[in-house]
C-alpha cells in the first residue's frame, strides 16, 4: 500500500509535468508563425473585452441617461517607435486625469505587424474601439463596413470644428466607397505629412549657387539639374562623394508633368501616357545619365537619408517628422518647394496622412469619438506634437500662428503649409483597396532605375499587367 501511494504521488507529479509541458509547448508553437503572434495578442485582450462587456450591461441604465460621466473603457491601438509611444501615453494619461471615469487601454504594435494584427482582431470580432488607419487600408475598412460613420457625432458633440482643420486632412477620411474626399466622414487625421524638399545650405553656399525657391513653380527641373551638376563632387578614387540630389520623388515628377498612375473614377491605369514616361525618364536619368543622384546600387550601399545627414547630398525630400533628426545636423538647411516641370510650370507633391478611426461595433461610440477628437485636435497635444517636431498642427489657426513663428529649422515653414493647402496630393495608393498592382509597379520599375529599359518601353509593357492586377483586387 505504501509503495502504491508513493507510485501514485510520483505519477501525479509526472502527469502535472507532462501537462504543463504540453501546454507551454502548444503556446510556443503558436508563437512560431508570423501570423499566429497576432492571435496570441487577441487572446490576451479577450480578458479585458469580457470585463468590458459585463461593465457595459451594468451601466446600461446610466448610459441611456447621460453618457458624459458614465464609466467606459476604450481600447486604443496604434503603432510607432518609443518616441511616439511616450507622447501618446502621456496624452492618454492626461485624458484619463481630465475624465476620471473614462479609462483608455493603449496598445502599441510594431509598424510592420500592425495591419496583420488589426485584421486578425477584426476577423476575431475583437476590433479595438479607436485605432490608426490610413491609405489603402482605410478604404478597405470602409468598404467592408468596419468603421463608424462620424457625421452625426461631429454634428451633435461639436468636438470638431471643420473650419479649423485642414480640408486636405479631413477629406482624406471621407469615402463613399469609390472616391476619396466624397461621402461621409469615417476618421480624423492624426497628422498630415507634406513631403517637401530639404536642401543643404552650406553646400549651396560653397558652390556659390542661389537657394531653390520656396514658391511653387519658380524652380524647375532644369534649374534643379543645373544646380545638381555643380553640386556633385567626385572623390580621389573617382567615386562620387557628394550628390546633387537624392530621392527625387517619382510621384512629384509625374504629377507635376500632368500624368498620373490611375484614374480612380474609371479604374483605368494610366501609366502609359507620354507625360508619365517623360517624368519617369527624367527621374531615372538623374542617376544613370547625368550622374547627379545615387543609383539604386549606391542607395543599396548607403541610403539617401544617411548620405544627407552626413552632408553628402545637397537636395533631399523630407517630411515634418524628420525635423528632430535634422535639428542636430552640423550644417544649415531649409526647405523649398518641389521643382516644377518645365513643360507645365507646375509642381505637386505627396501629402501623407494617417487617421484615427472608430470601430463600428464599439460599445461606447460617443466616448470613442471623443477620444479620437482629443488625440487629433486637442490644443495642448497639438502644441506638444509640433514642438517635438513630430508634425504640422492639424488646427489651422495654430499652424498659421505659433507654428510658423517657431525659431527652429526649417526657417521657411510656410512651404509645409503651401503643400497642405495647395499642391499636395494624396499618395497613389489612396483610392485602392488592394495594392498588389502598385507594389508590382514599384518592383518592376527597377528595370528603369538601373537603366535596363527606357521608361516608355517599360510603361507600355507594364500597363496591361497592372490593369489586370488592379481589376482583380479592386473591382
Amino acid at each position: 500500500m505504501v509503495i502504491w501511494k508513493q507510485k501514485w504521488s510520483h505519477m501525479s507529479v509526472a502527469a502535472m509535468l507532462v501537462l504543463s509541458l504540453g501546454v507551454t509547448g502548444c503556446a510556443s508553437n503558436n508563437n512560431n508563425g508570423g501570423g499566429n503572434t497576432a492571435n496570441t495578442g487577441g487572446n490576451a485582450e479577450q480578458g479585458t473585452n469580457d470585463g468590458k462587456a459585463a461593465e457595459g450591461t451594468n451601466s446600461a441604465g446610466a448610459n441611456a441617461g447621460s453618457s458624459a460621466d458614465a464609466k467606459s473603457e476604450i481600447e486604443f491601438m496604434g503603432w510607432g517607435g518609443d518616441t511616439e509611444k511616450a507622447v501618446f501615453q502621456k496624452l492618454i494619461d492626461d485624458y484619463m486625469k481630465k475624465y476620471p471615469n473614462k479609462k483608455v487601454k493603449y496598445t502599441v504594435v510594431p509598424p510592420g505587424e500592425y495591419y496583420q494584427k488589426l485584421d486578425t482582431l477584426i476577423a476575431a470580432k475583437k476590433t479595438p474601439d479607436v485605432f490608426y488607419a490610413g491609405g489603402a487600408h482605410f478604404n478597405k475598412l470602409v468598404n467592408s463596413d468596419q468603421l463608424l460613420n462620424l457625421d452625426s457625432l461631429v454634428e451633435s458633440t461639436g468636438a470638431v470644428d471643420p473650419n479649423n482643420v485642414w480640408k486636405a486632412g479631413l477629406d482624406r477620411y471621407r469615402f463613399d466607397g469609390k472616391t476619396v474626399g466624397a461621402g461621409s466622414l469615417y476618421g480624423l487625421p492624426k497628422d498630415v505629412g507634406p513631403w517637401a524638399m530639404a536642401y543643404n545650405k552650406d553646400l549651396f553656399d560653397k558652390a556659390g549657387l542661389p537657394y531653390p525657391s520656396a514658391k511653387a513653380g519658380e524652380y524647375t527641373w532644369d534649374d534643379m539639374l543645373a544646380a545638381a551638376q555643380k553640386l556633385t563632387v567626385k572623390n580621389a578614387r573617382g567615386k562620387i562623394d557628394t550628390f546633387g540630389i537624392a530621392g527625387f520623388s517619382l510621384e512629384a515628377a509625374v504629377w507635376g508633368n500632368g500624368g498620373d498612375w490611375i484614374d480612380y473614377s474609371t479604374g483605368t491605369v494610366t501609366i502609359d501616357t507620354p507625360e508619365f514616361a517623360e517624368a519617369m525618364q527624367f527621374a531615372a536619368d538623374l542617376g544613370n545619365k547625368y550622374k547627379v543622384s545615387p543609383t539604386p546600387d549606391d542607395e543599396k550601399a548607403q541610403n539617401g537619408y544617411a548620405r544627407f545627414v552626413a552632408g553628402k547630398i545637397a537636395m533631399f525630400p523630407m517630411g515634418p517628422w524628420d525635423q528632430p533628426g535634422f535639428w542636430n545636423l552640423p550644417f544649415k538647411w531649409d526647405i523649398a518647394a518641389w521643382p516644377a516641370s518645365p513643360k507645365t510650370g507646375k509642381t505637386a507633391t505627396w501629402l501623407g496622412s494617417l487617421g484615427f478611426v472608430v470601430g463600428k461595433n464599439t460599445d461606447y461610440p460617443e466616448d470613442a469619438f471623443q477620444l479620437a477628437a482629443y488625440l487629433s485636435l486637442d490644443r495642448d497635444s497639438q502644441k506638444q506634437n509640433y514642438e517635438l517636431g513630430q508634425a504640422v498642427p492639424n488646427l489651422i489657426d495654430m499652424a498659421k500662428g505659433e507654428f510658423l513663428q517657431m525659431d527652429k529649422a526649417p526657417q521657411t515653414r510656410q512651404v509645409f503649409l503651401d503643400i497642405i493647402e495647395d499642391y499636395g496630393r494624396p499618395p497613389v495608393e489612396v483610392g485602392s483597396k488592394n495594392l498588389k498592382w502598385l507594389d508590382t509597379f514599384n518592383q518592376d520599375a527597377s528595370q528603369v532605375w538601373t537603366g535596363k529599359k527606357t521608361a516608355a518601353e517599360f510603361l507600355k509593357e507594364e500597363q496591361p499587367k497592372l490593369q489586370k492586377l488592379y481589376d482583380e483586387g479592386n473591382k
Binding site: G22, C26, Q146
Partner: protein, 297 residues
Amino acid sequence: MKKKTTGFRRKEMLWSLAFVAPPVLGFLIFGLAPLLTSFGLSFMSWDMMTPAKFVGADNFVKMAEDEKFYKALYNTFYLLLGIPLGMIVALVLAMMMNRPLKGISIFRTIYYIPVVSPIIAISLLWQWLLNYDYGIINEFIWRIFGVQGPNWLGDPNWVKPSFLMLGLWGGVGGTMVLYLAGLQGISSTYYEAAEVDGASRWHQFRHITLPLLSPIHFFVVVMGIIGTFQAFSQMYILTPDGGPEYSGGTIVFYIFQEAFKYFNMGYASAVAWVLGILIFIVTLIQFRFSKRWVYQD
C-alpha cells in the same frame, strides 16, 4: 480481487489518456484544424473582414496564369542547387575533420556554430557581409582582384547566388556532423582489405566511402529538399519586398505576402496546398528511387 484490478485498470486507462491528451489535443487544435480550414479556404475568397465566398476552383485557375507564382516556383527550384553544393563541401569538411588531430573538436565546433545560430541573426549578419559598397566580401574582391564585386542583393542575377552562399555557410555544419558520424561508422576493415588489393585512395573513396554513406546522402537530400521548399526567413530579412524583379521571392514567401500583405487568404491557402502536394510527390519519388541506390545493411 477481480473487481479491484478492473478499477485499477480503469484508473490506468484514464491516466494513459491524460498523458496522451496534450499532444493529441495539440495536434487536433494546431495541426489538423488549420489543415482542414486551409483546405476549405483554398476554394474560397476571404479577406478576413467580409464573409468568405465560395469560388470553386477559381484560385487554382488564377494560379495557373499567375506570373509571380511561376517566378516564385522557379526561384525555389533554383535554390535546390544548394543541396548538392552543400553535400560536397560538407563531405570534404567531414573527411578533414575525421582525423585524430589534437584540438580537432574545436574545429568541429567552429563549423557547427552557424547551425545553432538563429536564421534571423545569420541573415542580418550576411546583409552586412553582402553590402555592395562596404561589405567585407566586396572589399575582399577589391583587395585581391582589383575589381568591384557584384551588387549581391541589388542585382536580380546575384540575389539567388547570395542565398546559396548564405545557405551553404549556415547549413554545412549540420550536414558535416551527419557525415562525420557516417564516416566513423565505416569499419576500417574495408579499407585494409582494399589496400591489400592495391586500390588507390580515389578508388577507396569512390567504392567504399561513398556507397556506405548513401543512407546519409538520402537523408540529407530529402531533408534538404523539404527545407528548401519551405525557405522563408532569409528572404524576409534580405529582400523584404521580394528583391529586384522578384528575384528573391520563394513560394512560402509568396504565400506569406498573399496572406498577410494582401489578405487573399483563399488564394494563399490554395498556393500552400499546391506546395504541400509538390513536396509530397517529390518525397514519394525519392523514396521509390532510394531502393536503387541507398545501401541498407
